[in-house]
C-alpha cells in the first residue's frame, strides 16, 4: 500500500491503481466520458484531467497510476480550467437537441455540462452533422451526437469479442460506423446503449416512448437462461418501457444479453390472455376465474376418479418459477399423479438423473474465468447462454484452451484450440476416442456398448485429450445439444469419465431460467421435492407423448416450439379428453388443443424465484400489476389445490412457498454438485440396441435458436428481426444440396415417419455432410432422428 492525497484527503491505496479508481472508491467525483471500469483505458476524452503536484501539465486521472506521496487536486483552479476547456470542445459540435434526444435526463454529457459548461458558446461555426446508420433492429443511431469516447468500439473488441463498430476516418471527420455497411449482430450488442454517454446510440424499440424521469426503476431477474442476470425494469404507469442491467459482479457484471434486454416487448403482445377462457362445445368463451378454475378442478377430478390420476400428464416450462414448479408437483402428487416434467426437449431418459443437485455448475460464474481447459460438448454456448460464454471468453483471454465437440462448426467469439466437428450420430464415439486417448483402460469402458469400447483415438481426439491433460483446472460443459441428444446418457457418462481422467469438473447447461430450481422442486417424474423418493416413478416428458394421457396440465409452454417431439405432442393433446393451459399467451394452436386457458401473469407481474446454474436462489417481486385478469401462476395453482382439498396450500405469499422448499432442501442430503462417477452405468450397454452404426442416410439436427427459446422472446418483435433470428427454415450441408440436386428456388419436403413439412432451404457450410438442420420445426418427429428429404417439382 502507498499513501497519496486527493484534495487534502489522505488515502492508503494499492500501487498501480489509476487516480480515477482510487477517487471513485473514496467517493471523490472526477468527470469522465471515455473511462469505464470494465473497458480498457483510452484516455481520449480528456475530461478527467486533474492537477497533480509537480506535473507540468494536468494529467488524465483514468490513465495516471498513483505513486507514493502523490498529491492530486480535483477542485483546483488548474483542474477546473482544464476540465472546462475540454467541456467547451465537447460541446462545440454537439447538437443542442436535448429536448428531442432520448438520452435527455440521463445523459452523462448533459450532467457534466451542468457543472462545467458555459451558458453561451463562443463557437459560431457550422456544427458537424453525421449521417445516421441503420445498424439493425435493436440500436438506434444519431451519430451527430457522438462525442467519440469509443466505449462502444472497445466493448466490441474487448467484451463482445466481435469488432462490429469502429471509428472510421480521422480528426473531426471521425465517426462511429460499421466498416462495411451492415448491422451490429452481437448477442450482447444492446450494452453499447448503456455505455454510450450521450444519445448517439439508443434503444430502437424504446425510442421516444418515455422520459427517464417519468419511469420508475424496479429490480428483477432475467427469465430466459440459467444465468439469471440482474435487471432493472423501467416502468411508466403499469407498462415496462425498457430493461437495463442491474450491476451484479458475480452474475452478469454490468452487462446483459440482448435477449434479456428486449424480451419485455412481448409483454404487450396481442396474444396476451387477459381473461380465463373455457371451451364449451367447441366454442371459446370468456369467463370468470371461479368458473374456469372449477371446470379445471372438476375435469381433472373426473379423469382421476374414472381413469386414475396417472392419466394426467403435466409439462412445465423450465423457465417457470421455483414456486410454480413446487406447487405444480405438490398439487398433482396429492392427486396421485407423478407424471410431471420440465425437461421438454430431452429425448433420452435411459440414464436417470440422480437426486437433484443444488447447482449445475461446479463453481461460481466468476470462477469459470480461472479454469484453463474447457471441453464444450454439444453446445453453441455463445448463443445459448451468452453471459456464461462471456466468462469462458475471459478465461481464454487469460490463456485458457477451449476444445469443442459439435456437429456444427459454430462461430465462437474466442479462439477455439481444437474443434471436433462430427456427425451428430457420432458424438459418443468422439468422446470415447478422447477418453481412450486419456486412458485406454479407463474403468468406464467395461460398461460401454461394443461400438464405443472398440474405438481407437484419432489424432484430433488425441489432441483434445492432450490439451485437457495439460490443464490445471479442467471444465467440461454438456450443452443443450448433448443433453437433448438421443445418446444423452452415454454422453454424460463419457463426459464423467473424461472428467475423472483429467481431474476435471462437469457442468450441465440446462435450458431455461429455473432448470436447477425445477429439479430441486421436484418437477421431475422420478424424484419429489428436495430429492425425496417416490413410491412409483411417473412418466417423463417423452413418455407422456409416446403414451398419450387423457388429461394434460400445460404450464407456460407451447409444445410446437418447446417439446422435442412437437408433432407427436400436439397429437397427444388433440386426442386428450381435457387440456388446461396456464399461459401468458394464447395461440391458434393452443385454441385447437386446449379446453381451458388460464391467463398466467408474465415474469414482470409475479413474484418468484429462479435458481440459476450456479445454484443461487434469486427471488424477485412483481414489478407491475398483471394485465387484465391475469394472475400470478403460484396463486392459480394454490386455488386449484384448494379446490381439490389438498392440505398445506394456505400460502399468503410466494416467499412462504420458497421457504417451505428451502427448508426441505436444507434437510435433504443431496445438495452437492453432481460429480464424476455418479451415473448409474448399468444401463449403458442397452444403447447398442438403438444405435444406427451405419451413419447412412440423412440425419436431422435440431437447434433452438436464441430468439426462439421461450414464448416471450418468440413474441418480441425487435429480437425477431435480428440477424441471429434469420437462422431459420431448413439448412443442409453442401454435400446434401449437391447429392439431391436441390433447386434453390423451391422448398424441400422433410419427412420423418408419418410427419412431413415443406420449407424453404439454404446451404450451411458449417454443417457436416448428411445433415439437415432445423430450427425446432414443428410438425416433425425425433429431433436427432433419421429424416428423408425430397424436392418435388412445384407447378
Amino acid at each position: 500500500m502507498i499513501n497519496i492525497e486527493i484534495d487534502g484527503k489522505k488515502l492508503s491505496v494499492e500501487p498501480g491503481e489509476m487516480i480515477i479508481e482510487v477517487a471513485d472508491k473514496a467517493g471523490i467525483a472526477i468527470p469522465r466520458f471515455c473511462y469505464h471500469k470494465k473497458l480498457s483505458i483510452a484516455a481520449n476524452c480528456r475530461m478527467c484531467l486533474v492537477e497533480v503536484e509537480n506535473a507540468p501539465k494536468p494529467l488524465p486521472a483514468c490513465a495516471t497510476p498513483v505513486g507514493e506521496g502523490m498529491k492530486v487536486y480535483t477542485q483546483s483552479e488548474k483542474t477546473i480550467e482544464a476540465q472546462k476547456s475540454v467541456m467547451e470542445f465537447l460541446l462545440i459540435n454537439h447538437p443542442l437537441d436535448c429536448p428531442i434526444c432520448d438520452q435527455g435526463g440521463e445523459c452523462e454529457l448533459q450532467d457534466v455540462a451542468m457543472g462545467y459548461g458555459e451558458g453561451v458558446s463562443r463557437f459560431t461555426e457550422g456544427k458537424r452533422t453525421v449521417k445516421d446508420k441503420d445498424i439493425g433492429p435493436l440500436i438506434a443511431t444519431e451519430l451527430t451526437r457522438c462525442i467519440h469516447c469509443t466505449r462502444c468500439v472497445r466493448f466490441g473488441e474487448e467484451v463482445a469479442g466481435i469488432q462490429e463498430l469502429g471509428a472510421v476516418q480521422r480528426g473531426e471527420h471521425m465517426k462511429i460506423a460499421t466498416y462495411i455497411e451492415g448491422s451490429v449482430d452481437s448477442e450482447l450488442s444492446g450494452n453499447v446503449i448503456d455505455l454510450c454517454p450521450v444519445g448517439a446510440l439508443t434503444s430502437k424499440p424504446f425510442r421516444f416512448s418515455a422520459r427517464a424521469w417519468e419511469m420508475q426503476q424496479r429490480p428483477t431477474i432475467a427469465p430466459h437462461d440459467g444465468v439469471g442476470s440482474h435487471l432493472y425494469l423501467h416502468v411508466m404507469g403499469n407498462q415496462v418501457k425498457r430493461v437495463v442491467p442491474r450491476e451484479a459482479e458475480a452474475i452478469n457484471e454490468t452487462w446483459i444479453a440482448d435477449r434479456d434486454r428486449y424480451s419485455y416487448e412481448s409483454l404487450h403482445h396481442a396474444d396476451r390472455v387477459t381473461k380465463p377462457l373455457v371451451k364449451q362445445e367447441g366454442v371459446w368463451k370468456e369467463t370468470d376465474w371461479s368458473q374456469a378454475l372449477e371446470v379445471v378442478a372438476k375435469q381433472l377430478n373426473i379423469i382421476a376418479k374414472n381413469d386414475g390420476a396417472d392419466q394426467i400428464g403435466c409439462l412445465a416450462s423450465p423457465s417457470a418459477t421455483l414456486e410454480e414448479h413446487y406447487l405444480l408437483q405438490k398439487w398433482l402428487r396429492a392427486l396421485g399423479c407423478q407424471n410431471i416434467d420440465h425437461r421438454l426437449r430431452k429425448t433420452d431418459f435411459r440414464v436417470k438423473e440422480q437426486a437433484p443437485q443444488s447447482a449445475a455448475l461446479p463453481c461460481e460464474f466468476t470462477d469459470v474465468e480461472y479454469y484453463d481447459r474447457f471441453l464444450l460438448i454439444g453446445s453453441y454456448l455463445r448463443k445459448d447462454i451468452p453471459m456464461l460464454n462471456h466468462r469462458v471468453r475471459k478465461a481464454v483471454m487469460l490463456g485458457a484452451e477451449v476444445s469443442v465437440l459439435n456437429p456444427v462448426d459454430y462461430d465462437f467469439n474466442f479462439d477455439v484450440a481444437h474443434a471436433l466437428i462430427s456427425d451428430v450420430r457420432l458424438l459418443s464415439t468422439q468422446l470415447a476416442g478422447i477418453l481412450k486417448a486419456l486412458s485406454a483402460n479407463a474403468p468406464l469402458f467395461s460398461t460401454l456398448p461394443d461400438y464405443l469400447r472398440q474405438v481407437s483415438p484419432d489424432p484430433a481426439q488425441q489432441a483434445v485429450a492432450d490439451s485437457l491433460k495439460a490443464g490445471e483446472k479442467v471444465m467440461l460443459f454438456l450443452g443443450s445439444l448433448a443433453l437433448h441428444h438421443p445418446e444423452a446418457g452415454l454422453l454424460k457418462a463419457l463426459a464423467e469419465g473424461i472428467a475423472k481422467e483429467t481431474s476435471g469438473e462437469l457442468a450441465f447447461l440446462h435450458e431455461g431460467a429455473n432448470a436447477v430450481g425445477a429439479r430441486l422442486a421436484g418437477a421431475m417424474p422420478h424424484v419429489g421435492a428436495a430429492g425425496s423418493a417416490l413410491p412409483t416413478p411417473g412418466l417423463d416428458a417423452a413418455a407422456m407423448t409416446h403414451a398419450p394421457r387423457k388429461a394434460y396440465v400445460l404450464h407456460q409452454i407451447e409444445p410446437e416450439w418447446d417439446c422435442a417431439y412437437s408433432a407427436q405432442t400436439l397429437q397427444a393433446l388433440e386426442q386428450a379428453e381435457f387440456v388446461v393451459a396456464l399461459n401468458t399467451f394464447q395461440s391458434d394452436t393452443m385454441l385447437d388443443y386446449a379446453d381451458v386457458i388460464l391467463p398466467a401473469a408474465a415474469f414482470t407481474e409475479t413474484s418468484g424465484t429462479y435458481v440459476n446454474l450456479a445454484g443461487h436462489w434469486q427471488s424477485f417481486e412483481g414489478a407491475v400489476v398483471p394485465q387484465g385478469e391475469a394472475r400470478p401462476a403460484w396463486k392459480i395453482l394454490r386455488v386449484l389445490a384448494n379446490l381439490h382439498d389438498v392440505e398445506g396450500f394456505d400460502y399468503t405469499a410466494s416467499t412462504e412457498v420458497r421457504d417451505e422448499l428451502k427448508q426441505q432442501v436444507e434437510e435433504s442430503a443431496a445438495q452437492s454438485h453432481e460429480v464424476a462417477g455418479q451415473t448409474d452405468t448399468s444401463s449403458l450397454k442397452s444403447y447398442s440396441a438403438s444405435r444406427d452404426n451405419t451413419q447412412q442416410g440423412l440425419v436431422r439436427l435440431t437447434e433452438t435458436p436464441l430468439y426462439r427459446t421461450d414464448a416471450f422472446v418468440r413474441r418480441s418483435p425487435a429480437l425477431q428481426q435480428t440477424t441471429d433470428n434469420q437462422r431459420t427454415g431448413v439448412r443442409v450441408s453442401r454435400q446434401v444440396a449437391e447429392q439431391y440436386k436441390l433447386d434453390p428456388a423451391h422448398p424441400v419436403t422433410l419427412q420423418q415417419g408419418d410427419y412431413s413439412v415443406s420449407l424453404p432451404w439454404q446451404v450451411d457450410e458449417a454443417l457436416p455432410g448428411n445433415h439437415v438442420w432445423t430450427a425446432g420445426v414443428a410438425g416433425l418427429g425425433a429431433p436427432f432422428g433419421a429424416i428423408e428429404l425430397t424436392q418435388g417439382k412445384v407447378s
Binding site: A42, P60, L90, N93, R170, G171, E172
Partner: protein, 429 residues
C-alpha cells in the same frame, strides 16, 4: 565567411558515382563498423557510451539523446524485440530522410543493424510515408544487396548474430510519424497514438520492447562508431553534436538539403541556399517544420542553427526543416494553410485536438477571407492554449504553436486583415 564543412555524416556518399550502391558505400568505409562488431562482439554498453559522448540527438524533431534512448530498451529481457526506423517524414517542410534513403540507404541499414545488435532485436522495420515510392525502391535494392552480401540475415558472417529488416510503406497519414501511431499502423491498425507510458522501449511493436529512431539518427550511428563520439561532438557544439541536414525551402534561390554542422549561423545557411529570392527582404522563418513557432527575420538572423540556440530564440530545431518567407508573404494565408493541415491530420482521438483544430482552422480562414473580427485574435490564442498540453500526443501542440507564434509576432498584420478586409502585403505571392 569561412567555408562551412558539409556532407560528412549522412550525405557522405554524395558526389560519388552511384551514391546509393553498396560498392560506393563500402568504398567509403561502409559496413566496416558492422563487420567489426560482428567479429569482436563489441559490448553493447561501449557502443551506447560512444553515442552518449557524441551527443547525437534525435533527428526526427524531439531532439532526445539517442544514446540515452538506446539504453532504455531492456536488452537482456527474453523474447522478441524490434528496432523501427521512422521514415514517415510528413512534417511540412521536411525532405531530408527521403534523400538519405535515395542516396545513402546502406548507412541507415547499417545503423539499424547496429541498433538491433545493441538492443538484442533480430527484426527491424523501416516505415516510410506512403508517397515515398522512389526511396522505397532504393531501400529495397539496398536491402537485397546487403542480404546477398551476407550483411543481413541469420548467423551473419558466421557471427551467430541474426538481424533482418523490412521496408514498409504507410498510407499517407501525418499522424503515423508519431512513433506510437506508427507502431499501430505497422501492426495493421488505424494510426492513432497510444497513451504513454508505457513507452515503446517497454511496450512497443506487438507489445514487445521496441526502439524507434528517425532515419537520420540511425544513419548517423555507423560513422560515429567509426570515427568516435568526440569527433562527432566536435563537428557541432557542446550538447549539440554532429552535422544536421537542413531542408531549406520557400523563398530562397537554391532550396534543398544542406548537411552542415549544428551551430551554423542561420545567415550562413541562408547564404548557402542562395539567399532570399529576387533580392527580397527576409520576413520570417519557420526553422524546424510547420509545427514549430515562427521567428521573424530580426530574430532568426541572429540565431545559430542548433537545438539550444533555437530553443533560446523561442522556437525549435525540430526536424531541421527551414521554411523561408520573404516580404511578399501573407502571414494570415500561411497560418490558414498550416491550420488547415493540422485540422485535416488530427487523428480525432483526443477531444481538444479533434474539436479544436477545426475551430482554429475555420476562424483563421474567416480572417483570411476578410470576415474576421478583432476578438478572434484572443479567441485563437485561447483555443490554442486549451489544446496545448492536453492531448495524448504532440499533434495538439503542433497545431497550437504556429497559431500562438504567428499571432504573437504578426498581430498587426492579422489586425490589418480584419479591419481592412484585405492583406497588408501588396502583390502578395
Amino acid at each position: 565567411m569561412t567555408a562551412i564543412p558539409t556532407n560528412q555524416v549522412c550525405f557522405r556518399t554524395l558526389g560519388h558515382d552511384a551514391p546509393s550502391s553498396l560498392a560506393t558505400y563500402e568504398s567509403l568505409g561502409g559496413y566496416q563498423v558492422w563487420r567489426r562488431i560482428l567479429k569482436e562482439k563489441t559490448p553493447p554498453e561501449e557502443i551506447v557510451e560512444v553515442l552518449k559522448l557524441s551527443m547525437l540527438r534525435g533527428r526526427g524533431g524531439a531532439g532526445f539523446p539517442t544514446g540515452l534512448k538506446w539504453s532504455f530498451v531492456p536488452r537482456t529481457s527474453p523474447g522478441q524485440k524490434y528496432v523501427v526506423c521512422n521514415s514517415d517524414e510528413s512534417e511540412p517542410g521536411t525532405f531530408k530522410d527521403r534523400d538519405i534513403m535515395r542516396y545513402n540507404p546502406h548507412q541507415m541499414i547499417e545503423g539499424m543493424a547496429i541498433a538491433g545488435y545493441v538492443m538484442g532485436a533480430t527484426v527491424g522495420y523501416n516505415y516510410m510515408r506512403g508517397e515515398f515510392i522512389e526511396p522505397f525502391e532504393s531501400c529495397e535494392r539496398a536491402l537485397k544487396d546487403a542480404r546477398e552480401s551476407g550483411l543481413l540475415g541469420d548467423n551473419i558472417l558466421g557471427s551467430g548474430i541474426d538481424f533482418d529488416m523490412h521496408n514498409h510503406l504507410g498510407a499517407g497519414a501525418y499522424i503515423c510519424g508519431e512513433e506510437t501511431a506508427l507502431l499501430e499502423s505497422l501492426e495493421g491498425k488505424k494510426g492513432m497514438p497510444r497513451f504513454k507510458p508505457p513507452f515503446p522501449a517497454n511496450y512497443g511493436l506487438y507489445g514487445r520492447p521496441t526502439n524507434v529512431n528517425n532515419t537520420e539518427s540511425y544513419a548517423s550511428v555507423p560513422i560515429i562508431l567509426e570515427k568516435g563520439g568526440q569527433w562527432f561532438l566536435d563537428l557541432g557544439k557542446p550538447n549539440n553534436g554532429g552535422m544536421k541536414i537542413f531542408s531549406v525551402s520557400g523563398h530562397v534561390n537554391k532550396p534543398g538539403n544542406y548537411e552542415v554542422p549544428l551551430g551554423t549561423p542561420f545567415k550562413d545557411l541562408l547564404a548557402m541556399a542562395g539567399g532570399v529570392r529576387d533580392g527580397n527582404r527576409l520576413k520570417a522563418v519557420i526553422p524546424g517544420g510547420s509545427s514549430v513557432p515562427v521567428l521573424p527575420a530580426d530574430i532568426i538572423l541572429k540565431t545559430d542553427m542548433d537545438y539550444d540556440s533555437l530553443d533560446k530564440a523561442g522556437s525549435m530545431l525540430g526536424a531541421g526543416s527551414v521554411i523561408v518567407m520573404d516580404e511578399t508573404t501573407c502571414m494570415v494565408k500561411v497560418l490558414a494553410r498550416i491550420a488547415h493541415f493540422y485540422f485535416e491530420e488530427s487523428c480525432g482521438q483526443c477531444t481538444p485536438c479533434r474539436e479544436g483544430t477545426g475551430w482554429l482552422s475555420r476562424v483563421i480562414h474567416r480572417i483570411e477571407a476578410g470576415e474576421g473580427k478583432l476578438e478572434y485574435l484572443d479567441l485563437l490564442g485561447d483555443v490554442s492554449n486549451k489544446i496545448m498540453g492536453r492531448t495524448i500526443c504532440a499533434l495538439g501542440d503542433a497545431a497550437a504553436m504556429p497559431v500562438i507564434s504567428f499571432i504573437k509576432h504578426f498581430r498587426e498584420e492579422f489586425a490589418y486583415h480584419i479591419e481592412h478586409k484585405k492583406c497588408l502585403v501588396e502583390n502578395r505571392s
